[in-house]
């Protein structure tokens, strides 16, 4: 990045979004803000005034905004408009999505990178359905700077009590979504009280006006204080330099840092930050910057890998839960296959389960819906074809959110709420493209001193066709002939004469009389093909809630495994 760009020459620009229930006065407040800040040209104002006079209607600031938007539109249907205005302190862009029908899709397109949002609530009517719905979207988009505008204070005689009670109601609603209100402004868009001009009608209000609250916003929502996440866009070798290129999503990186590159989990030291021009050479880069990293190792890295600091790695997972909002023309369905794009990574994904449909206004959950339609939000479970480096959205936005591509189109966006950590997927079975994890050869020790069960990994991590497997260990014993059914990876492994004799997807597996063992080494109580089909269906519908019930119904914990008692000095 250029080091000598003058701050004075480049004013800061902040992107905002305003939301609110229809008729609570969103357009009026924005229109008034632009007007009082002097950002509308006189012609537009005069025209709206004249038409109001001619038709005997009151002058509406909302129409000023409409006129302004129509001007941008120039006859073309549009989804979002960008309204520019400036204060002494900096420039602002307000993203507005006119119309309410496709609000979700439009707001998301325009506002997904907004740095702050203002929720406009009518003082008389309080929080209503769409207010909640929009607040929910803000939480999914990860917008964390939220202001509350209590509008139409003129209708409640500028009463402080009304303001406070609406404030409480809104805080509660937002708290349920994990959002916090940073500023509260009682105002009247119509009368221009507390929009730009401080109100004399509400001397009890100690806080800023709306314009003041804007200037009080912080510029960056991706704090450099967070841990480093640098998703790689590419590895370039245009010349004798090998450069890892990408944009820093969060945190900072500097020469000399020990970094970890996931999901391969390789460590390296940063030797320099490359640049075309000498003036752009530097020792350190932080969130938002597009960089080129050079490191002291020559491992194979590729697009989609994530660079972090060594002691603060992302998760590695191929099974996640997420809140997904759907914008696709065809509904999202269980077992649907999509392309998932998370930061710079791309992977095939299958919706293994739709847990709940979320009613965006009441936040009520409808369990196990058959589909998720346009503009709907759901909690889903997703399986990825291969493990990715990712984060929970609550920890890192940039690597905790993704889009789903249906066919050629971006059809949904989602945030990761849970992920099964799989950095240990080193033991199990492989055969060509087929892979399955399993822990059946791990030793389970009960540690008396710590009163906990610990596991010890087998020496040989991966088995393939023809390999002899260790049938007997300190804490387990399996027969010469048995089948392993691994539900989480949907694979079956056949063991004959103590060797791996076959491997196939669970869907193609049928019961042939051999004893069944699951991926942990517990017996599965199946005596017929019928039993097997029932067990399979049950385990495919496994959730944390029915886990113990299914275990009681199908699993036998005693035949093949026992727990070995050990003390602190017990050598594994």
């Amino acid at each position: 990045m250029a080091g000598d760009m003058t701050e004075g020459g480049a004013r800061e620009k902040l992107k905002l979004v305003f939301t609110g229930h229809v008729d609570h006065g969103k357009s009026t407040v924005i229109g008034r803000l632009l007007f009082d800040a002097g950002s509308l040209n006189d012609g537009a104002v005069a025209k709206v005034r004249r038409i109001a006079a001619e038709t005997g209607q009151p002058f509406e600031f909302a129409h000023l905004l409409d006129a302004f938007e129509e001007e941008q539109k120039q006859g073309i249907t549009i989804d979002t408009t960008q309204l520019q205005f400036r204060t002494e302190k900096r420039d602002y862009v307000i993203i507005d999505a006119p119309g309410h029908k496709e609000f979700l899709k439009n707001m998301i397109s325009g506002a997904s990178d907004a740095e702050a949002a203002f929720l406009v609530v009518d003082a008389e009517r309080g929080v209503e359905e769409q207010s909640r719905r929009h607040a929910h979207m803000l939480s999914l988009l990860g917008i964390r700077q939220i202001g509350l505008v209590v509008n139409k204070m003129d209708l409640v005689r500028y009463d402080r009590k009304v303001f406070e009670s609406v404030g409480r109601e809104a805080s509660e609603c937002l708290a349920g979504l994990g959002l916090e209100i940073n500023s509260r402004i009682p105002l009247s868009g119509l009368k221009g009280e507390n929009v730009v001009r401080p109100s004399t009608r509400m001397p009890w209000h100690r806080g800023p006006t709306l314009a003041g609250a804007l200037d009080g916003l912080k510029k960056s929502t991706s704090p450099a204080g967070r841990g480093l996440r640098l998703p790689l866009q590419a590895v370039y070798k245009f010349d004798d330099r090998r450069i890892l290129a990408g944009r820093v999503e969060s945190g900072r990186v500097k020469i000399g840092d020990r970094v970890l590159i996931s999901p391969g989990r390789k460590t390296a030291t940063v030797t320099s930050l490359a640049a075309w021009l000498d003036k752009d050479l530097k020792d350190e880069a932080s969130a938002g910057e597009s960089v080129g990293l050079m490191i002291n190792e020559e491992f194979f890295h590729r697009r989609g890998d994530v660079v972090s600091l060594e002691d603060d790695p992302p998760l590695i997972s191929d099974r996640i839960k997420a809140s997904v909002f759907w914008m696709g023309r065809t509904p999202l369905k269980p077992r649907g296959r999509y392309k998932l794009k998370l930061a710079s990574a791309e992977v095939e994904a299958e919706i293994s389960e739709i847990d709940n449909l979320i009613d965006s206004s009441t936040l009520a959950l409808a369990p196990k819906p058959a589909r998720v339609g346009f503009n709907e939000v759901a909690q889903v479970e997703i399986r990825l074809q291969r493990p990715l480096a990712l984060d929970l959205f609550s920890r890192h936005q940039g690597t905790g959110r993704f889009v789903l591509v249906d066919g050629h189109d971006v059809a949904g966006g989602g945030i990761v709420t849970w992920a099964e950590e799989r950095s240990d997927i080193k033991f199990g079975f492989v055969h060509g493209e087929l892979k399955a994890r399993c822990e059946i050869f791990e030793e389970y020790y009960y540690n008396v001193d710590e009163m906990s069960v610990s596991k010890a990994a087998p020496e040989r991590p991966l088995y393939t066709l023809g390999d002899r497997v260790p049938l007997t260990g300190a804490s387990y014993r399996y027969p010469e002939l048995f089948d392993i059914v691994i539900f989480r990876d949907r694979m079956a492994v056949l063991v004959r004469d103590g060797r791996v004799a076959g491997m196939l997807p669970l869907g193609e597996y049928s019961y042939q009389g051999a004893p069944l063992v699951n991926g942990r080494g517990f017996g599965v109580l199946v005596r017929s093909q019928d039993d097997w089909l029932k067990a399979r269906a049950d385990f495919e519908a496994l959730t944390p809630a029915n886990e113990s019930e299914l275990a009681r119904r199908w699993l036998d914990f005693n035949t093949y495994r026992r727990i070995v008692i050990g003390g602190n000095d017990f050598q594994i």
């Binding site: 752009d280 938002g288 066919g407 189109d409």
Partner: protein
Amino acid sequence: MNHLQSLEAHSVFILREAYAKLGRLGLLWSIGKDSTVLLWLAKKAFFGHCPFPFIHVDTSYKIPEMIVYRDKVVADLGLELIVHQNKEALAAGMSPGNGRLVCCKALKTDALNSMTKTHGFDGLIVGVRRDEEGSRSKERVFSERNSSDEWDYTNQPPELWGQFKTDFPKGHHVRVHPLLQWSEIDIWRYIDAEKIPVIDLYFAKDGRRYRSLGCAPCTGRIRSEATTVPQIIEELSATTVSERAGRAQDQEDAYAMQKLRKDGYM
């Protein structure tokens, strides 16, 4: 990061996405200030290299200094340049005399489209900005064109979280717009901060200068005394507002009325 730095970082990000995701890529270079900034950003994105060709759609009516400047920059920076002309139309005598729009369509639009097909481009990087004119304000960063090169602006994909549309049916191509978020004055401030050499035509001579460059017969100069980049910035800070307001007002009459009527005023 200040505003210019974040614009730069974002444009570099977009260029790298395009290079990673689209097959055959080219950069449309009109020799003007915007695509010259784009060239500069490409150099930054790829650490001094330009891993795709530059394309100049030459109408043959360009201001002569532009061609001289073009060839010098290509030689200085070692660029791969494709110059394309609609030879048939020129042979048939196409000129602004046939009507401005007819001429533009034949020598620019048609030439561009046939060039895209001849060279099999999957992606074209173009330096358009949202603030230039109405329809450009609706553009996406990755904007699909179907096999007849048409743009369906009514049904555009959402672009969120830096995820662009990168999957297309065969035969479609993508226009990539790394400068979409920049304004005219941002461009000049960046040129100033980075000391990017631009063609002399932008600087005033005899009280006039070009504000944008095109074909000699159809491009006029504006009154100006600005002979340096800082003076251009100063001039624009003072004039754009009123200029845009003036332009906007024309439009406003038609549409503001219409919208007010829709809302029940008549």
